[in-house]
Symmetry: C2
Subunit: 359 residues, 2 copies
Amino acid sequence: MAERIARARIADVAREAGVSKSAVSFAFNQPSRLRPETAQRIREVAARLGYRPHPVARMLSAGQTATLGIVTPQPLDRAFANPFFALFTQGVARVAEEAGFALQFISPLEGSLDRALGRATVDGILIIGVGDRHPEIDALRRTSLPVVVVDAPPWLDRSALAVDDEGGAREAARHLVSLGHRQVLIVSMEPPSLGSEVRESVMARRLRGYRGALVSAGSDAEASPWVVVAPASFEGGEAVFLTAWQDGRRPTGVLAMSDVSAIGVIRAARSVGLSVPRDLSVVGFDDLPFTAFTDPPLTTVHQPVEVKGEEAARMLLQGIADAGSAPRRQVLATGLVIRGSTAPAPAVGTPRLEVMAHA
Amino acid sequence: MAERIARARIADVAREAGVSKSAVSFAFNQPSRLRPETAQRIREVAARLGYRPHPVARMLSAGQTATLGIVTPQPLDRAFANPFFALFTQGVARVAEEAGFALQFISPLEGSLDRALGRATVDGILIIGVGDRHPEIDALRRTSLPVVVVDAPPWLDRSALAVDDEGGAREAARHLVSLGHRQVLIVSMEPPSLGSEVRESVMARRLRGYRGALVSAGSDAEASPWVVVAPASFEGGEAVFLTAWQDGRRPTGVLAMSDVSAIGVIRAARSVGLSVPRDLSVVGFDDLPFTAFTDPPLTTVHQPVEVKGEEAARMLLQGIADAGSAPRRQVLATGLVIRGSTAPAPAVGTPRLEVMAHA
DNA sequence: TAGGGTACCTAAACCGGTTTAATCGGACGC
DNA sequence: GCGTCCGATTAAACCGGTTTAGGTACCCTA
């Protein structure tokens, strides 16, 4: 029913107030150019008609949108399935809002990031989780908008922000090694999209860290069949551990590249009768807030996710404000947080039997 | 340095291809109106110049933005602090993307939702968590855009979507009562903004459910000094329980209006030497995915958060597509999920002493 | 009383597209 | 041989604002 009243335009206000369009515009943007009474009268008429300048029109003539775009390689619902992304967004949002910028999410439209980008009304782009071999990387490169690349190798002439993935991963692996673990399963993350090869991605850097520490400890991981891939989600971690278990893998430790998959692994481990951390040690990555409350509390690699979001937003805002500014690069520190999901490796030979007894 | 190349405009392509602006536009939107070779040539020139139609200009003449707006009464970083919001967003995103719509978040700009709304370039608005006494409710009411109100009483002529908050809360309270709890602390949520009175808000409905069950069981809650308010966050729940404890409150059960504050309560309870659920039973609300993995697993009221997002998006899309359609109202079911954070109330008199012994 | 400011307001151009109405040349029918 | 219709293309209007360049009227000064 609700007789949708057509939105009042500037011309309506002008006619009603008996002035020109320009006068109406001035009344709002440069009142000093009008006689006070005139400006006042115009504002009253505008209020009466419920007039609001059309934001799209304003954007068009202003040539800017006051909006930051966050590009993800996955559909948005999948991106938000990892709390990591929400946390990162928090950081971005805090800085963006402070600067009066809105937030828009840009995810592949009908499978195409390129198309999505073409439709995005933003002043700058924040790219997260897109490997440098992403099939549409060229589309992203071509953009004339300011860009900050997060968690990926810096592109030519673009600002980049990352964390010390390799160092954090190495620390995690060393921790397991020092606890006596030699049979270690690495749970990598699913590449964001099919065909996107991994060269300098987050996954690759963490893997290097894990491997470096494991190999130098003489772990079986040097043969590298112990790496499995799963989506960064509870279910992903659960499924991948179960599969590995069925394939006959009997690790005493798991290095997961995300907290959510680590939690999934723990659930799966329990379902096959393993006790964490007695039979199986699990290390996550990210240190999301809830990992301090899980059962057991998760040992994980901390990375400053919110700060990463804040800093990325700041870099981008600067790139927008000062188009000529040189690209900046920044790497934030990571560090292992030891909680309750890791313990000394069980004595060789026993875990399997013990498990059987439990099952 | 990166000599930012000015974006190619339609006029540039037209000049370069030796045709009119209209021809260029047709080449992309109605190629049938052009001779095939002409269209092809124009497209080649466009590709060479890296031309992309300016999305803002397109929006302006098209009169639509293909974007859904999500309005929150709080700054975005605070909204995302509750995983509930990310989960809801997942649902919205799934449906929106499928329909080719982008997502924009609208939060108070410089404290004003009204101003933020005026700047939002969206085709429809999804409002979540805004009570009907919100100071800027009128600004929202006046919007000529299609609106779906989530988790709030329906406004005149607006579609609304909610869950059975009262029923779920009642079930939670009855559960505690049936376990013998009579000293129950209710942890409400902080109202989204100062001065926004609560009449038919989520908080009010849940409170009614809690109280109804408690009062009929003869709990002390009828005097109602046992309701405390906290932000929906880990820290919020933690702080509020500690304060209540210091004020001399000695509940045997806690009914929290969000999972995150419930988890915070559990942490606080432990810090004063209580064991959950032996000394204190805690019930959350929302049933966020991670609550199945907490220590102990959380007993909580399930609400279909993602489905709520999906359904809200669907309702809104329909309102956009069919402006004349009648407003719809929908209420989704809730239900208690009993896990490990609730247990029979400790025998009267003992808990306090036992606690002391622990501390 | 003409020239120069100043205060106030308007006409018109512009932002970058889309769309409707008009133009032009050639093929066709009678 | 002339009117008509059609296909291909363009000019111009439009979306709804902002902004620049004027244009009046009035006052002050020489």
